[in-house]
Symmetry: C2
Amino acid sequence: MRRTKEDSEQTREDILNASVRIFSEKGVSQATLDEIAKAANVTRGAIYWHFENKFQIFEALHDRLHQPFVSMILQDLEKDHPEPLQQLRDLWISLLLELDEDEQKKQALTLFVIKSDYSGELAKYKDMHCSSKNESMKLFQRYFEKAKKMGKLPENADPEVLTQAVYCFMKGILFEYLNDQEGFDLKNRAPALINLFFKCFDQ
Amino acid sequence: MRRTKEDSEQTREDILNASVRIFSEKGVSQATLDEIAKAANVTRGAIYWHFENKFQIFEALHDRLHQPFVSMILQDLEKDHPEPLQQLRDLWISLLLELDEDEQKKQALTLFVIKSDYSGELAKYKDMHCSSKNESMKLFQRYFEKAKKMGKLPENADPEVLTQAVYCFMKGILFEYLNDQEGFDLKNRAPALINLFFKCFDQ
DNA sequence: CTACAAACATACACGCATGTATGTATATTG
DNA sequence: CAATATACATACATGCGTGTATGTTTGTAG
């Protein structure tokens, strides 16, 4: 059953897509390669052909999902918005609203925000996760630095602290929403929550 | 090796204490009963005598840790503070600062905030977790309801939204801190972060 | 003082997930 | 058109964690 090169690439994608689903449903450590194989309509043989083990899949998924996010933020930072804080606020609101309607993204975020605790078997990937977290935090910090340079923030405001605050808030929202999607009316609450938070910069 | 009743209760406690450690280090699903047994200086036989299985330990831990938290908040709510928002703010700051120096509490919170994703084997306990979450959120909401009755909040402020906002923020802080304790200088940042957030109510 | 049962420790059987070894069909290359 | 490597599927061996069955000691009730 030798397949062509495109076929092969397709099965690789199938495996990755199935992995996101299974990982986000059961958690990485509870997910089994056989489940993933069945969800991707292949056998474990195919998985072991494309990946060394379960954690290589995890790593591949991380790359596939982190990079688009970073480049999207970078693109947003290119724009010379007159109100960087407002820009960041709107970015987050639209991100949350898009998330609410994108099952794929929800699964991916569920996987990396909730279902992977980077302990035990996943411990080796903690550094990877931390550094990509720091990478995106640095990007968010640039919004605040812009705002400060434009005099939109008080002199004593520390962009690093503000970034950490926003990051924690967003992480909390994502966490609560992804943990109980029925109990969290994101579509209606997201603007209210974000707007409320960004009020603390308006003084 | 029949032990007295107090001995028995002690081993039960030993098992629970060891479980918090192992669970918070490896995650519930990756923790094995043999590890727990060794950490508690007993055998798996002792564990199976006191508990049905791993998840019964988890349940027992949840009870042991949730109830003191609730009663602590209830006690704080008894006080008739003239500024409920300030009271809530100070409560959170002191909770975070205490946490920073209490290894036991850190382990417990790590377990329930990060290491248990309530999927797969833990799915049955999701309801339990959600209802105890809602219970504590209702308690936090009472601070805002108090404040509103006292005219400390604008007429159109929705205590439920405000509660959700604070809860998400705190969850995010806890999550980030527990995930990378070295990278999060909680002792110095906690007051700054909390104070910043509570500013959005001062208008 | 002697049953009996509590409080474990030890031993065993089972299933399940992993990794690897092997088989196989087919695209591709010379 | 043969030879080879690719892209898997299948089969097998292994280990590990769980649950349970059984053994053992000792506090305790009568």
